[in-house]
């Protein structure tokens, strides 16, 4: 009699014996009435880096999920204790590598708070400019990769085309596209040039239409909307209790934006809205990011308009590196340069915390100083780590296909999450 393969009782055992021949110890049960443990990552394209998830499944429903971190842990907080304040700036590039330049200026701001120095107005304006440019660049990746994860590949190509233009401005501004290391304690590495202004103006003019196109492509995309709507919901209370920040918190109905609530740089001089939605699902986070890009463009226009002339480094010779050409020609500056590079700045004893609104949320640095040129302790408060800690709450009860949409809506950067 003919036996269909699926009814063959020996079939399963043949699979099993084949597996056991391969030097594996497996027990197979009926997959339909058993829970399954699924290991996702660290090498998975939808985890945006090296995030590992252990997921307990009942059929297609997620019962529990445990994120595992540390695959990109480089010990930056330990490295910081062995380097001077200036030496740590390049390491901040490698935290959130999608918006390196805003990490640079955030770190410099924290050290300046410890030292008690004011940067010139022009430097503050340039810092606003680069922070908002990096917010646009980072949100473009977030939007594009989230759309790609749920199947709309075209958007990724379009957002990366826009992002390239921002990176080109970085290139002209500081000579690097990714690892910018643009900030200096008390100022910046180089001055903003008229060429940068022209490039940025051209970018902003084009960006309005290009963003509208991207938006149109997704807003009318039935598959994208259906896969993101009511997915990964989180209550307002949970979002606050878990200490979430950035677009995720604002999508949950909490209008917290440090640029407005605890203004730093010169953010109190600009007119912009804090985009807040209440749906708190993956789609709301997407819309918050789209809205924030428009607000960033608004801030950029105002900052370009108001950009004052003047120095771009504070006049504190004992704390701020002198201009390179003066180091080579003047004795005083040579001595200062030597002392600052070899021994470091001498900060007061104390501890400070400075948080800024980076594209992912609140990026903060706690610096404990013992009065020497090296930080005694430098703690990085990374928004990605915090936002990822809500992942198990969001995933509970979701379908297996929602996982990628939810991770995409959190927009974690593992360089920052793993430190």
């Amino acid at each position: 009699m003919h036996v269909r393969p699926s009814d063959d009782p020996n079939r399963k055992s043949r699979i099993l014996s084949a597996l056991e021949d391969q030097d594996a110890s497996v027990t197979l049960h009926d997959p339909l009435d058993n829970e399954m443990i699924l290991n996702m990552g660290p090498q998975h394209p939808a985890t945006h880096g090296v995030l590992r998830l252990l997921i307990r499944l009942d059929g297609e429903t997620v019962l529990a999920a445990v994120p595992e971190l540390g695959y990109l842990h480089r010990g930056y907080e330990k490295i910081a204790e062995a380097s001077t304040y200036h030496e740590f700036i390049p390491h901040t590039d490698r935290l959130d590598y999608l918006s390196p330049i805003s990490n640079n200026v955030a770190y410099a701001l924290a050290v300046e708070k410890l030292l008690g120095i004011e940067v010139p107005e022009r430097a503050s304006y340039i810092r606003v400019l680069v922070s908002e440019m990096s917010r646009i660049a980072s949100h473009l990746v977030a939007v594009g990769s989230m759309a790609m994860d749920v199947g709309a590949l075209t958007v990724l190509l379009w957002t990366f085309r826009e992002r390239e233009k921002v990176l080109d401005i970085y290139d002209v501004l500081c000579g690097a596209r990714f690892t910018t290391s643009y900030a200096r304690i008390g100022g910046l590495q180089q001055d903003w040039t008229p060429q940068c202004s022209a490039m940025l103006r051209r970018f902003l003019d084009e960006f309005r239409n290009d963003l509208a196109e991207i938006e149109k492509l997704l807003e009318t995309n039935r598959i994208f909307i259906d896969r993101c709507e009511n997915v990964g919901c989180l209550s307002r209370g949970d979002a606050i209790a878990l200490g979430l920040t950035g677009p995720i918190l604002r999508a949950a109905g909490v209008p917290r934006d440090l640029r407005r609530d605890v203004p730093y740089f010169v953010y109190d001089r600009f007119d912009f809205n804090v985009i807040t939605l209440t749906e708190s699902d993956a789609l709301a986070r997407f819309y918050v990011r789209i809205g924030e890009m428009k607000e960033s463009a608004k801030i950029l226009r105002q900052a370009l308009e108001q950009l004052p002339a003047g120095p771009f480094r504070a006049g504190e010779p004992k704390k701020v590196l002198p201009a390179k050409e003066r180091t080579y020609t003047r004795m005083e500056e040579l001595i200062h340069d030597f002392m600052l590079i070899n021994i470091g700045i001498d900060p007061p004893v104390g501890e400070v915390y400075q948080g800024v609104e980076s594209s992912k949320g609140e990026l903060g640095f706690t610096i404990v100083s013992d009065g020497t040129g090296h930080p005694w302790r430098l703690k990085i408060r990374s928004p990605s780590t915090n936002n990822l800690s809500a992942l198990s709450t969001m995933l509970k009860g979701a379908m297996i296909s929602d996982i990628v949409a939810i991770i995409g809506s959190i927009d974690p950067v593992m360089g920052e999450a793993d430190k």
Binding site: G75, Y353, G355, V368, R381
Partner: protein
């Protein structure tokens, strides 16, 4: 605002407040180790203060004979748009302190990280595992007696 916080805390628990410091406008309140949960609940639930978010939690190895470790809690009040730092001192001989996960759920991963990096044990934490280092790692890397270059063979490569 800083004066109000100190005053309220002192009247709530006079014995729990050990020290208050102000540096660059930031207030740091040092609290007795066993009172941290009580003080945290008060700060969170008091309607005038309402420190409802935990932004950061970090360990510091002060490398001194007594009270070697410090744990610093950075709190934020959505209502007042205000930061506050709480500080707890922990001795090396008895590196245990109460967990604040019951007050702010967001402290969960921060406490795991502090355990991972300093070996401080948070009593009452629901899931105190290492956050970054592998489970079988024996050392606490951010302690000052752990060398920056690492310890050879402390991280075994996976067997093939």
């Amino acid at each position: 605002m800083n004066a109000l916080i100190v005053e309220k805390l002192r009247s709530f628990a006079p014995a729990a407040v050990l020290q208050t410091d102000e540096f660059r406008g930031d207030l740091t309140v040092t609290v007795a180790r066993n009172d941290i949960v009580r003080v945290g609940e008060y700060l969170k639930n008091d309607p005038a203060l309402a420190f409802d978010m935990i932004i950061d939690l970090l360990g510091v190895d002060m490398y001194r004979p007594e009270d070697r470790f410090e744990v610093v809690y950075t709190l934020y009040s959505l209502k007042n748009r205000k930061y506050l730092r709480l500080k707890v001192r922990v001795d090396e001989q008895d590196p245990v302190l109460p967990s604040v996960t019951g007050v702010w759920a967001g402290a969960n991963w921060h406490e795991r990280e502090t355990f991972d990096m300093f070996g401080l044990k948070f009593a009452g934490h629901p899931d105190l595992r290492r956050l970054y280092m592998p489970e079988e790692f024996e050392y606490y890397p951010l302690r000052k007696d752990f060398p920056t270059m690492g310890i050879p063979d402390s991280l075994p490569l996976p067997r093939r």
